[in-house]
């Protein structure tokens, strides 16, 4: 009996490894798990984009005012341009307050971008040195965070949001944490 088992063992080991590889090798290594998921947002205060409207925003704005979305963007970021219509759509649905974090962008360019493509954000803040973004664990924009009423990060997406992702992931998560 034990002899039989030993002959089957390599096959078993192979199958286990095959399953691991089948899952592991099809994952995109560029997409990292977020260390801040289900953790409180970092403390920050962002000034407005220089010469632009509003007063910027801070971590205090993200607490106790329902679900918020923080979208990290820059005018030099091509995928940001691609996802912009979806951010606009999300903001128009008024299910969450959408904030724009302008990442290492020249104020002039950021404002031009907002003028050209439209400004869906309830408020935006300029992170000129990218320090607040680093506190959020941002490593490649666009990145989008969903933050619940208590200021806990509940979801993070790296990359441009497509309409499918908006409908199938973002909106359901916002709904879930709105209750």
């Amino acid at each position: 009996m034990l002899n039989r088992l030993i002959y089957i063992l390599p096959l078993g080991v192979f199958l286990v490894m095959a399953v691991y590889f089948a899952i592991g090798l099809t994952k995109d290594p560029k997409i990292l798990p977020s260390a801040l998921l289900h953790k409180p947002i970092p403390e920050f205060t962002l000034p407005p984009i220089e010469g632009g409207p509003g007063n910027g925003f801070s971590s205090a704005d993200l607490r106790g005012k329902g679900v918020s979305v923080v979208n990290v963007f820059a005018s030099w970021c091509v995928p940001c341009r691609v996802e912009h219509p979806q951010i606009t759509r999300l903001a128009a649905l008024k299910v969450a307050t959408v904030y724009g974090l302008s990442y290492k962008d020249k104020p002039k360019n950021a404002l031009k971008w907002l003028r050209e493509l439209g400004d869906p954000y309830a408020a935006h803040g300029a992170d000129l040195k990218g320090r607040v973004a680093i506190d959020f664990g941002v490593y490649g924009i666009p990145e989008t965070f969903i933050i619940d009423n208590d200021g806990i990060i509940r979801y993070k997406y790296v990359g441009p949001i497509t309409s499918a992702r908006l409908e199938k992931e973002i909106l359901p998560i916002i709904k879930k944490f709105s209750q």
């Binding site: 030993i6 080991v13 290594p29 560029k30 990292l32 798990p33 977020s34 260390a35 801040l36 290492k104 040195k129 990218g130 320090r131 680093i134 506190d135 959020f136 664990g137 490593y139 490649g140």
Partner: protein, 180 residues
């Protein structure tokens, strides 16, 4: 004989590996650290370099932030130096980055429950292989000893079982008569 060949192959492999790694290391990497980032205190700077070498650049994932020219790597290098200047210990600096980017930023993964398979897996597999090899040779030897024919080729003796009394009796009969 066969053992000798295996040992030779192993030795050759090891020399090859050492030579290639020496060659690889001897090509000095271009410094990504810009002169304006370097701290004036050489002790702090040395610590910053050492920490930076262990932190992964998240944009170009197989480089450390010390090697990478990416913007984010530069920002992180500056943060490492700022924290050190502010009096943080090496561990505090590393914690600062890990709390934002997770264990993934550590080029050397930490030893904990989630990484147990990673750290112990290779040793476990090699150990299992070693045990299997030892068991194989032991069984072969004990099999040979049982038949009392240790000098015989192993492949033959492992499958032989001692003759029963009945069989021995028949052999004697055959040898006597010359007919079955």
């Amino acid at each position: 004989m066969r053992m000798g060949i295996i040992a030779l192959a192993l030795a050759l492999g090891l020399t090859g590996m050492t030579t290639s790694s020496v060659l690889f290391l001897s090509t000095a990497p271009a410094w990504a650290v810009n002169p304006d980032e370097v701290l004036s205190d050489p002790v702090l700077e040395a610590r910053a370099r050492e920490i930076s070498k262990g932190l992964r650049c998240l944009v170009c994932q197989n480089q450390s932030i010390d090697d990478s020219d990416a913007d984010l790597a530069k920002d992180l290098r500056i943060i490492v130096r700022e924290r050190l200047t502010a009096g943080d210990s090496d561990a505090q600096v590393i914690d600062f980055v890990v709390s934002r980017y997770g264990d993934y930023v550590l080029l050397k993964p930490p030893f904990k429950l989630a990484t147990l398979v990673l750290w112990l897996g290779p040793a476990a597999i090699a150990g299992t292989g070693l045990i299997a090899v030892v068991m194989f040779f032991r069984r072969r030897r004990s099999g040979a000893a049982q038949t009392g024919a240790a000098q015989q080729p192993a492949a033959v003796t492992t499958t032989t079982t001692p003759l029963s009394d009945e069989e021995n009796r028949r052999i004697e009969e055959i040898l006597k008569d010359g007919t079955p």
